[in-house]
Symmetry: none
Subunit: 210 residues, 4 copies
DNA sequence: TATGAATGAGTCTTCATTCAT
DNA sequence: GATGAATGAAGACTCATTCAT
């Protein structure tokens, strides 16, 4: 994202831009989008709040960028490292799911506010923003569907599995898990049990000869 | 809720009170809590906005009542008719799940804004309100856990099932399904496929000898 | 004020009217005119606040009647019993002043809110009402001037006394004393010392051969 | 109060702050505290009413500052120039009283609304503010008591003078005089007669061998 | 006649956004 | 480019007053 060919001033600008997004994320998460003023974001960075408007159009604009950033991280989490076609057997598939699950858990544990941001704050602004969140879900579902379809083709998931419909159910599983982070952020044991239960439910629910 | 022993005036008051809650629900769902003014609610009913304050303390208060009403409906939907201990076999259990699922779908289909209200709007107001929503989830999970524990005891769900942890996963399934109603309110076919896929995932994921 | 020839209903009406004035006085004194609502007055009497408007035009109107009542009491206190021409010597004059002073103190001690009402509340409403309070002062000054003029004529007050101007100064003495009741309602000893000091200042300040 | 070391912007800010206090004083005096809106104050200065809130917390806050300013001026008037211990004889004492009296008259004549502000408006807001006004009186009384006590010690005021109690009576004299300014702002002759009569009453009322 | 439900004018206050310095 | 002073639209809430029952 940062380019070595940029001038020093240009890089500083990019840097501040990123910091504003970070600060906005922090404030929006902590107090909520509607309860946060532009001045709060600026104050957190120690800059004048007029400066904010040199980097972003308006309050809605910064939310957009915050959500973009969070979306990017979530999508990376779900998509990275594990190609849908990597698993060749149910055991490998189970391992792949566990890896993704653990990665998802790790990211959420590190920053539980990400889920609050996309599910609670972004969805209270306007239809367009809510729609973006829905598309994010859709994206997750599509990735998931590919995994499932691959498993069916490979023969270790049951042949009559409705990959597309099931993928939405799987996204629900992820959502349910994520919400537990918000309600009980410190319940590490409960979280691990939830991961296990979810994986078991998922694998047993989709595998062949289940 | 309405009492035949109440005077005519008293009944009219109860009636208007209920209508204000209805109107507030409609406005909050349509434009969002933060984008809705008390005047909007009053205008929808054709009453003066001062009248609103004869029935509710303030904006936060009406939200509370709206959420109470929605919560009540959701809890009724999940809890009514089907006792956790009613199923005696996997087949009966499957039927029970399908009945609950269909009922849930029917309620959501009739009023998809209920989920928007609890998941999107209520969660953007303050910590206390968000917590209430979390408790609603918790309630759903507890009911679900009873169903699961019963199945384990009866022997048609696998003995090593972690009923409590799994119940949270099941709530996620419900949530995921509900969100589809918001994104694609008119996709009846997709909805039916999702119900089927979710039931299949759930049953196969928990049943014995899975 | 109440007339035996009035019908029973009429007398009840007069009675309630008087009670409303009493209640308004109590509320205005306790919370202040601007902080008191018509509903507060009605609630104190246990009547509907619509009823209020059957007895008084509006909020301003009830204040007018409260002030009239208080004015009447104050004027009675100052004027009653002691005719300006009653004193024939300095000693008698001193006794007369002491009697009036004690009477004034007794009335204020019984109801210190009277002074608050006329000096603090009534004067914060509008020019017309403030003017009425000023006229009340004027009335007090005129009575006082008569006492003083009489003393000059009788020869026990100094011949060059400016009765009219001095009368305003004397009203100031009364005011100053009255304010002490509000600030230190329970300082009985201080009050008695103030009465003594005021009388001494007054008598020595106006007597002949001073 | 203004500091030469302040930046230009800082000085302008101080300036506007002072102007807002001035404007608030003018509006509160003219229409009354309760009848004055923040918008009225802003309009008088030709500034947006949002600007007001950059300088003062709320309506109550500006009143506090107005009263502080008026209090300061009144206390300066009463306390400045004339040390309580300056007079060495009754003649000097009389001159001192006349100087203070004239100064007081001059200040009141220039701005008769000061007395309206402290006595009428401030006392109609809440108990705390009323108490501040009482303390202002108390302050005046204490200064006065020092003058009186000094006179007693010097021997030109009578030995049995109750300086403290009498001081409250003297404050009453000042109050009574001040109220005349409000009722008859243009009666210069009456005012001079009142000053004379008050001084005479005061001096004769406290001097030795009276 | 008494009531209190309904009303909306009026006011405070916040905060996103602009722009002169 | 950065700043923060200024702005006013917007919105929550109160309460005196009216009037149907």
């Amino acid at each position: 994202m940062t380019d070595a060919s940029l001038s020093r001033a240009e890089r500083q600008k990019q840097q501040l831009r990123a910091e504003i997004i970070q600060a906005a994320f922090a404030e929006f998460s902590a107090r909520g989008y509607h309860q946060t003023g532009i001045a709060d974001i600026a104050k957190r960075l120690g800059i004048g709040h007029g400066t904010f408007y040199r980097y972003f159009e308006n309050k809605r604009d910064i939310l957009e960028h915050v959500i973009n950033e969070v979306s990017r991280q979530i999508m990376e989490t779900l998509a990275a490292e594990n190609a849908p076609g990597a698993a060749g057997s149910l055991a490998e598939y189970r391992e792949q799911c566990r890896r993704i699950g653990n990665r998802f858990v790790a990211v959420m544990a590190e920053n539980p506010d990400m889920i609050r941001m996309v599910l609670f704050e972004a969805t209270s602004v306007d239809a367009e923003m809510t729609n973006r969140i829905m598309l994010l879900q859709e994206f997750g579902a599509r990735i998931t569907a590919e995994y499932l379809a691959h498993g069916v083709k490979q023969g270790f998931l049951r042949a009559d599995l409705d990959a597309e419909a099931t993928s939405h159910a799987v996204i629900g599983l992820l959502l349910g898990g994520a919400l537990r982070f918000l309600y009980k952020p410190d319940d590490v044991e409960g979280r691990e049990r939830l991961v296990e239960a979810t994986l078991r439910l998922l694998i047993d629910g989709v595998r062949k000869d289940g």
